[in-house]
């Protein structure tokens, strides 16, 4: 699962290289949300610290 998040970053970087800026940005934002969910899964009080 965690490896998939890294792989999404790689795909977003390749898309940026191929001139698909919007797709790359969308993937990055989607991945940020996934990362936040994943962080919350591992450490549910982190969002409290963040906020």
């Amino acid at each position: 699962m965690m490896a998939a998040l890294f792989f999404i970053f790689f795909i977003a970087a390749v898309l940026a290289l191929m001139d698909f800026e919007k797709a790359s940005m969308s993937l990055a934002i989607a991945n940020l949300l996934l990362c936040i969910f994943w962080l919350n899964h591992h450490a549910s009080d982190t969002l409290t610290i963040l906020l």
């Binding site: 699962m1 965690m2 490896a3 890294f6 940026a16 290289l17 934002i29 991945n31 940020l32």
Partner: protein, 184 residues
């Protein structure tokens, strides 16, 4: 100013890639397997890299700086969470120390520097003034430092994906990993 800031972002991209390279070195050479929170901090660095990569390839834009800053804040929160886990007296640390600090403390320091650095660099308005031309976007016509930084970043991102899969497999990573899932 446009070219200067493109190159500055390329330098930043190389710097963050080197941080990731050091983490990979510790993992492969010293056999320090990253815990789930450590991997989440690496994801924060990867996100910062993506924003810098977009700035480097497409020219500096506020939304790319925003992307890097958001991931830096995310990574700092994860690092702070891990520091708070180990700061209680009598609580064992995770991993070995480097210059007196553990990797998660270094990660927090790095994310803080990144947030401050990005805020300062993004505030120079002249870098956004040049209208983007098609020739600015062609990879072959980019400066050497841009090409090197982008290829280095792509390699680091792919390598992280592969080695994380080797460690954790398709499911959730163990809290205290001692061996690679792929080598079991």
């Amino acid at each position: 100013m446009f070219i200067l800031f493109k190159k500055l972002n390329a330098l930043g991209l190389i710097a963050v890639s080197l941080v990731m390279t050091f983490a990979l070195y510790a993992q492969l050479v010293d056999n320090e397997l990253p815990c789930p929170l450590c991997l989440i901090q690496r994801l924060g660095f990867a996100g910062v890299m993506l924003g810098l990569l977009l700035n480097t390839l497409r020219g500096p834009q506020p939304k790319f700086y925003m992307l890097s800053t958001l991931f830096a804040v995310f990574g700092a929160a994860a690092a702070l969470r891990q520091i708070s886990l180990h700061v209680i007296p009598g609580t064992p640390f995770y991993g070995s120390a480097f210059f007196g600090f553990h990797f998660y403390t270094w990660a927090f320091i790095c994310f803080t520097i990144i947030i401050i650095g990005l805020s300062i660099v993004a505030s120079f308005a002249k870098q956004y003034e040049k209208p983007l031309e098609q020739s600015d976007l062609i990879y072959a016509k980019q400066p050497v430092i841009t090409k090197v930084s982008v290829l280095f970043a792509l390699f680091i991102l792919l390598f992280n994906a592969l080695i994380t899969f080797a460690e954790c497999g398709p499911s959730v990573c163990p809290d205290n990993p001692t061996e690679y899932w792929l080598l079991k």
